[in-house]
């Protein structure tokens, strides 16, 4: 996926002008927040579980090399294969090699953000292999030729009318006069169509919510059951997982599961949590004959030991974007790369380079709500600030901003000069605000006054008024 994060400003403006998108985003604003709040309030131990989950991931990251080795040993012992990929290109190549050897014409896919990150679908198509997304949301956006706008609700930007139009356009073998009025009828139509695909696929590709080192198990968490059919029916199952997905034990996984669904959809548990360990066993009557895990680094090992290590605790629940005022305003596509919202504002610069994604950590009000709902206590605003520090150090922030900042800072450590400067600023603002008390046009903050007034200042600065007050007090 081409990085469009440098056009964030334009992307955002387009998103704000898109009425249909704005209507769709209203669902995020209301439904996700309410559902999570209810689920969290119903579990007294939620905060303790958050602390535990955080500690588990910290411990794992501090021993990531050892846990990955143990995971690998267990997978191999069960007859599975582990492939290590340093880059997206390497991972794509490994998938293709497996598909060619099968040989595969069609691959079904469970929802995977790693697949988006390595641009797998485009690559498979170029190599004459048809990828079929099977998660309903992913299926819808695949038909539309789009990318996910949310990490757990990929089609959250699309409304029902659009889905209906897409289904009529693409499902041409079905009767034209069929009724598609309800979300239910759309879902059943997708179920019918994808059922055939599931049964015909040669390879199934899924992501992983966890990799359990203890047992060499890959775990997916879903509601639709599509991921399960993806990994049960075809002859070959490929798991695409990034390094940091590993957890030590089944018990550790269970601790994190308790905060995952509640934070994501407000469920206590997602419908299906499926643990896969190796290929089918000699007496099994179903399941894949081959089990491959592709372990993708793609920049993550470089985050270890830095101020961005905590980001590797992320379990991709989406709570940060569900509670983000900026995401609510512009949606996920405006962020211009795979991962939107606050987690994307931290992760995208790490994986794709801050020179290309510099807007993302800057386009935040630092309201802190993302951190307050993050089940893994990831200090997202702090890490966005770290990116701003890197930009500042590397002179990536606009020169005019830096000049203004330096000038202001010069005054800020010289109180006498600062007083003088505020008196001039005050005078200017006072004149501009005129009789109304509000400024409708401000030369250095036109962005502000384009949309709202700048309230004018009172008669004097506080420091002027306070000196006068002290004099009067002494007199009386």
């Amino acid at each position: 996926m081409e990085i469009r994060s440098h056009k964030f400003r334009q992307n955002a403006a387009d998103a704000l002008a898109n009425e249909q998108l704005q209507n769709a985003l209203a669902h995020v604003r209301s439904k996700f927040i309410q559902k999570r709040a209810k689920a969290v309030n119903n579990l007294k131990a939620f905060d303790t579980l958050r602390d535990n989950a955080t500690a588990i991931k910290n411990h794992t990251l501090e021993n990531l090399d050892v846990y990955l080795e143990i995971f690998e040993e267990k997978v191999i012992a069960q007859g599975g294969q582990v492939h290590w990929a340093a880059t997206a290109q390497e991972a794509r190549g490994q998938v293709l090699d497996i598909c060619r050897r099968v040989p595969a014409k069609t691959v079904t896919k469970g929802k995977s953000m790693i697949s988006e990150e390595i641009e797998l679908n485009e690559f498979l198509e170029q190599n004459d292999i048809t990828p079929v997304e099977t998660d309903l949301g992913e299926y819808i956006i695949q038909l539309r030729g789009e990318h996910p706008s949310h990490i757990i609700a990929p089609a959250v930007h699309v409304n029902m009318d659009q889905v209906r139009d897409d289904f009529r356009k693409h499902h041409t073998h079905l009767p034209e006069d069929r009724v598609l009025e309800e979300p239910k009828s759309l879902l059943l139509e997708a179920r019918g169509i994808l059922r055939e695909r599931f049964l015909k696929a040669d390879v199934g590709i899924t992501g992983a919510n966890f990799l359990v080192a203890e047992t060499g198990t890959s775990v997916i968490v879903t509601n639709e059951g599509n991921g399960d059919l993806t990994q049960t029916l075809p002859r070959v199952h490929i798991v695409l997982a990034s390094l940091e997905k590993v957890v030590p034990t089944l018990e550790d996984m269970s601790q994190i599961l308790r905060v995952l669904a509640r934070s994501a959809t407000g469920q206590e548990m997602s419908v299906y949590t499926t643990l896969s360990s190796g290929p089918k066993r000699p007496d099994d009557v179903d399941g894949p004959e081959e089990f491959h895990v592709i372990l993708l680094d793609n920049g993550r090992s470089s985050m270890l030991g830095t101020e961005f290590q905590d980001m590797l605790r992320c379990i991709r629940c989406g709570a940060c974007m569900n509670h983000c005022p900026v995401y609510h305003a512009v949606g996920g596509h405006a962020y211009g790369w795979v991962y939107p919202g606050p987690m994307g504002a931290v992760l995208s610069p790490s994986l794709a380079g801050v020179d290309k994604t510099g807007h993302l950590p800057n386009a935040s009000t630092f309201c802190g709500r993302c951190e307050s709902v993050c089940p893994m206590h990831i200090p997202l605003p702090k890490m966005m600030r770290h990116w701003r520090e890197r930009e500042f150090e590397q002179h990536l922030s606009p020169p005019s901003n830096r000049r203004n900042l330096k000038l202001w800072a010069w005054f800020a450590v010289r109180p006498g000069w600062y007083r003088l400067m505020t008196r001039f600023s005050h005078l200017g603002l006072r004149i501009l605000s005129g009789w109304s008390g509000s400024i409708r046009w401000l030369p250095f903050a036109r962005g502000w006054t384009r949309h709202r007034n700048m309230p004018g200042p009172e008669r004097q600065t506080f420091m002027q008024a306070w000196q006068r007050h002290l004099v009067e007090r002494r007199k009386s």
Binding site: L49, D65, W84, L136, P183, T232
Partner: protein, 222 residues
Amino acid sequence: MSTRSEILKKIRGAVGGPDEKNVRRVSVEQHIKRHPAGTLPSKISSKAGAIKLFIKRAKSADATVEQCGTANVAEQVASFLREHNLPATCRTGTDYKLKRLVSSKANLLELSEGPSDGNDITAISCALGGAAETGTLILVSGPENPTTLNFLPENHIVILHEKDIVPHQEDLWKKIRKKYGSGEMPRTVNMITGPSRSADIEQTLILGAHGPLRLHIIIVKG
């Protein structure tokens, strides 16, 4: 150098030197061996309490639940099928205990055996256990209860013995370790909480996505 060793070297450089890797491996293996359980939220002291909570949570996840004695399982299945106007044919695995339960003198049900190819309307499986905390069923793969039965048929009936209802999923990890060996797993473990669903269209929840449209749990007493 292979990609594998390059990645591992990079990680090692960030989290600790190569010498102390073996020290960390020992402590990591100890953690895995002890597999501490962390915080278990539900305070459940009795079996009856666990069963009651399981039923409540499973129902809140949109499963339907019935309780009956060993003699009435076939009748319960038949009544579920009648209620939903479904044919009396069911697919099962080779689980002989399950078959004994759903067979009846009156031949209420027509049973066929094996994995599903997608043409079965109803499947019956037997769960390894149920976690009361969230109303979650745990099923394991194998010829007794093939995994495809959990997902392909539109209706999934799961037999759960009272004795297999435990407070938390952690209790079932213990059971799996005991049955398969420490660190060993059946190929697939399915944790199932309610019938399949999707909220991908306008965040409106609809039951019945790619998996079963209905999940019916029969809790067998004694």
